[in-house]
């Protein structure tokens, strides 16, 4: 098993290309092979030139071992444009039945799910849509572990991949700065880094949340806003990915 290059963004930043190349050489599933083979990301590449894709999953809960994916939404984008016409959205049938609580949460109903395919049936298309693009998520501890577990269960091999986490960026900008620490020290509550609240800081409009595609779009817009506000388009990719 490979040692995964997690940690701070600056630690092990150059390990991702090796890992991805290695996986591309080893995986047996043809769709996964194409997915890993399509990565062509140099850690020094300017962020303004990186092909991106915002990804969001709706799940029945927060634990990838007990809960399942019910919908997947993604939108390809770049620093300049969000290619909404190329959006993809799938509802999938989880192997375990839905709880009432999760239904109220993401508003996907039983009948909608009853007619939906198993995740396995859309995986090839999903990999295709993600291929060659760097995934952007808001809170990285959902999408990656859930996909890893679900893919491993269906294809016998997991998938790990680099992501940019807009929530983590927001935390760095609003919680770890000297100013934020000072405000916390004088007893002010820390800035909320939830998707909706983060967007408001950049003048982005409120959207109906908890729909995988709407949240993916919202995440893409947030990352565009973060880039426009805090970063030079020449900033190297390795400053962003995890």
């Amino acid at each position: 098993m490979h040692k995964l290059p997690f940690g701070t963004p600056h630690h092990g930043q150059n390990a991702w290309p090796d890992y991805l190349a290695d996986r591309a050489g080893r995986v047996r599933d043809p769709a996964l092979k194409r997915f890993f083979g399509a990565y062509d990301l140099d850690p020094a590449m300017p962020i303004g030139e990186v092909p991106l894709v915002a990804l969001d999953l709706e799940t029945t809960g927060l634990d990838e071992r007990r809960h399942a994916i019910v919908s997947v939404g993604l939108v390809p984008f770049t620093q300049q444009r969000i290619q909404l016409p190329r959006r993809r959205y799938w509802v999938v049938k989880p192997p375990r039945p839905l709880s009432q609580r999760s239904i109220t949460f993401h508003r996907i109903t039983h009948s909608e799910i009853a007619e939906a395919p198993d995740l396995d049936e859309i995986l090839d298309e999903l990999f295709e849509a993600l291929a060659g693009r760097l995934v952007v998520v808001h809170y990285r501890h959902i999408e990656r572990p859930f996909l890893d577990a679900a893919v491993k269960a269906r294809r016998g091999e997991g998938m790990r991949f680099p992501v940019i986490d807009t929530m983590s960026l927001e935390a760095q900008l609003h919680r770890q700065s000297r100013w934020a620490r000072f405000k916390r020290w004088i007893g002010r509550p820390p800035a909320s880094i939830r998707l909706h609240d983060s967007r408001l800081r950049y003048g982005l409009p409120p959207y109906q949340g908890h729909h995988a595609l709407v949240d993916a779009l919202a995440t893409a817009e947030l990352f565009q806003a973060q880039l426009a506000t805090h970063f030079d388009p020449q900033a190297p990719l390795h400053r962003f990915w995890h």
């Binding site: 300049q80 969000i82 909404l84 003048g203 409009p205 565009q224 806003a225 426009a228």
Partner: protein, 631 residues
């Protein structure tokens, strides 16, 4: 429609030109947009760069510049921009900068062109050939209110009703008492049925029929019937009625079809009124005619003063009936002239006949037949050349004083510039007036003309019509021959500039300053009227009304292309916005004025006003170029 795109669609559907798109096209637009974020201070479109998209502002705000860096316009949430560049050569000629953090939806060129092809209103909105202003104005005029106004609006009182066993004489007496020309005849019913209704007494009733004046004549008197017989014997049993939510148009057709003059109006089965043919006629021929009749029947100033409320009522009525600005202007001017004439008649009764012939002349909006509900008086006396100051002036001063005070009492306030017949300068024999006009035209001085340009709209109201006609001829003949005069008038017409545009809750001025309200007369209609007057004088037109003047101007080569048409639409639109806001003021019991607050302006109105002010601004530029000051 994908549910995830609803939010985008929802937002666009609230803003022109998307608000009128078909659902299918709207779905396509929402599905096709791309998205981009621009931080405040960054350029969205750079001069000369290729452009392939129409831009829609989802949130934030932008500034659009001319190539020389001058601010052209500001746009906010829900506005579109970039279509000029898209329609021309697909290169940016109007650079755009985000002035707030801005989220933009890009609509691809291909789809933009399809929207223009497939949706006429969309094309109207963006294409230069037929600006949205004209479309709006045309749409307003095509609304026929008779088709849409419901009958119930015309009902002024509950129907008079009597029971079927009452005598014919009782019926006639009731009609006299109530001063009506018909009664409805009801019978009490034991049980509820499909024909019964409940009245305030809780009982079941059925409408047997209607009895009219004419029935009393033909069925009772001519037939020699006994007036003690029950009305049930003579009532018209076949009840032709109309539901209260039908249109006025339908009511009229119903009366014509059945050849009847009285039409009961029902709410379900319960009678709520009786419509008389005259109600419809009164509705059709706007009620200002009745008001005018009323003015002439007053025998005192007090009586005239009491009609002030009626003026406002008929003004509101005109707008509710869908009148355009020309109709409103002409109705209000007719009313104003009627007040003036009646005041003169009353004054002459009191002072005796005039010692020499005279003409009472009006200037400004009344002369143009463009009077508004908020107006002051501008008038003058043109006296016969045999006028002798020593012997005659006391009479005319007294006359002028009575008229001026009377007009003020009736709601036409004194002229702030003292342009009234009470001022000895404006109470002169015809030859002096001719000299005045001759001097103004031959030796114009912008300063002087600023105060007296009001005299170049002049019309007769009472007395010797010839006097004013001679002055009008003089102006028409001499003005067009005098480039210096036209140049001076043109300078005056440039004194008041239109506001550059509406932005959020304020009006943005050319120098970037902001105003929280805008005087539509001072910044819109007045400068338009001024510039129309210059062109009209230049082409020797004798017309006084701005729209008539535009007709005369259009017959010449003075304005290129469709300029005169655009000016017409701009004047009509700004006038109507002004009028409508005054109607709202009156309805909400505020004193009407010429100021509107941008926050009370709808999106469509805002866009159209922007266009109208742009037309004015362009027309002023042309005016400056066309009538240069001779060196």
């Amino acid at each position: 429609m994908d549910v995830e795109l609803l939010d985008i669609r929802q937002h666009m559907v609230g803003n022109p030109p998307f608000d009128t798109l078909s659902d299918d096209l709207l779905d396509e637009v929402a599905a096709a947009v791309e998205v981009g974020y621009f931080r405040a201070g960054t350029m969205i479109c750079e001069d000369g760069q290729p452009t392939k998209d129409l831009y829609y502002i989802r949130s934030g705000a932008v500034e659009v510049y001319r190539r020389n860096g001058e601010l052209f316009n500001r746009f906010g949430e829900g506005d579109i921009f970039g279509y000029f560049d898209l329609l021309r050569n697909q290169r940016v000629r109007f650079p755009v900068k985000a002035i707030e953090d801005t989220l933009v939806y890009f609509i691809p060129d291909e789809l933009f062109r399809r929207l223009c092809d497939e949706d006429e209103q969309f094309a109207d909105f963006v294409e230069v050939g037929r600006p949205r202003l004209e479309t709006t104005v045309d749409h307003q005029h095509h609304d026929n209110t008779m088709m849409t106004t419901r009958v119930r609006k015309l009902i002024s009182r509950l129907p008079v009703m009597i029971e079927a066993d009452a005598t014919i004489q009782t019926a006639a007496a009731t009609m006299c008492d109530e001063n009506v020309s018909s009664v409805l005849v009801l019978s009490a019913e034991e049980e509820a049925s499909s024909r019964t209704f409940v009245l305030g007494d809780g009982k079941q009733w059925r409408t047997l029929g209607i009895l009219t004046d004419q029935d009393l004549r033909t069925r009772v008197l001519a037939a020699g019937l006994d007036a003690a017989m029950p009305v049930a014997e003579v009532v018209t049993r076949e009840l032709i009625a109309i539901q209260s939510d039908e249109s006025v148009h339908e009511a009229m057709l119903c009366m014509l079809r059945n050849n009847i003059h009285h039409l009961p109006v029902l709410h379900r089965r319960r009678p709520v009124g009786v419509l008389h043919l005259s109600d419809i006629i009164r509705y059709e021929t706007n009620s200002s005619l009745y008001l005018v009749g009323n003015i002439y029947s007053q025998s005192s100033l007090k009586g005239l003063e009491r009609l002030e409320a009626d003026v406002r009522r008929s003004f509101v009525g005109l707008i509710e009936d869908g009148a355009n600005s020309q109709m409103v202007g002409s109705a209000l001017s007719t009313i104003g002239r009627s007040f003036t004439r009646r005041l003169i008649e009353l004054a002459e009764e009191e002072l005796g006949p005039p010692p020499v012939p005279y003409c009472f002349m009006v200037m400004g909006s009344m002369a143009r037949n463009e009077q508004a509900i908020v107006t002051d008086q501008d008038n003058a006396l043109v006296l016969d050349d045999s006028f002798d100051h020593e012997r005659h002036d006391a009479y005319f001063l007294a006359l002028a004083q009575r008229i001026s005070d009377g007009l003020d009492a009736c709601g036409y306030t004194y002229c702030k510039g003292d342009i009234m017949a009470t001022n000895p300068r404006w109470r002169q024999p015809l030859r002096v007036w001719k000299q005045y006009f001759h001097d103004w035209i031959a030796d114009p001085n912008p300063e002087r003309l600023l105060h007296s340009s009001i005299f170049f709209d002049l019309d007769h109201v009472y007395g010797e019509e010839d006097f004013v006609e001679e002055l009008q001829d003089l102006v028409a003949d001499q003005a067009s021959q005098s480039p210096r005069f036209l140049a001076a008038m043109a300078r005056n017409a440039l004194n008041r500039t239109p506001p550059l545009g509406f932005f959020r809750t304020f009006v943005m001025e050319k120098d970037g300053k902001q105003n929280n309200s805008i005087n539509l007369k001072r910044r819109g209609t007045a400068p338009l009227v001024d510039l129309i007057r210059v062109h009209a004088l230049a082409c020797g037109s004798r017309a006084q009304n701005s729209f008539d003047r535009l007709d005369d101007i259009a017959k010449t080569q003075l304005l290129v292309g469709r300029s005169s048409e655009r000016i017409r639409y701009a004047l009509e639109f700004i006038s109507m916005v002004r009028i409508r806001h005054q109607v709202i003021d009156i309805q909400e019991e505020r004193e009407p004025d010429n100021n509107i607050e941008p926050e009370n302006v709808s999106d469509t109105e805002r866009h159209n006003l922007k266009d109208a002010f742009q037309v004015l601004s362009n027309a002023q530029k042309f005016l400056k170029f066309r009538y240069p000051l001779p060196s």
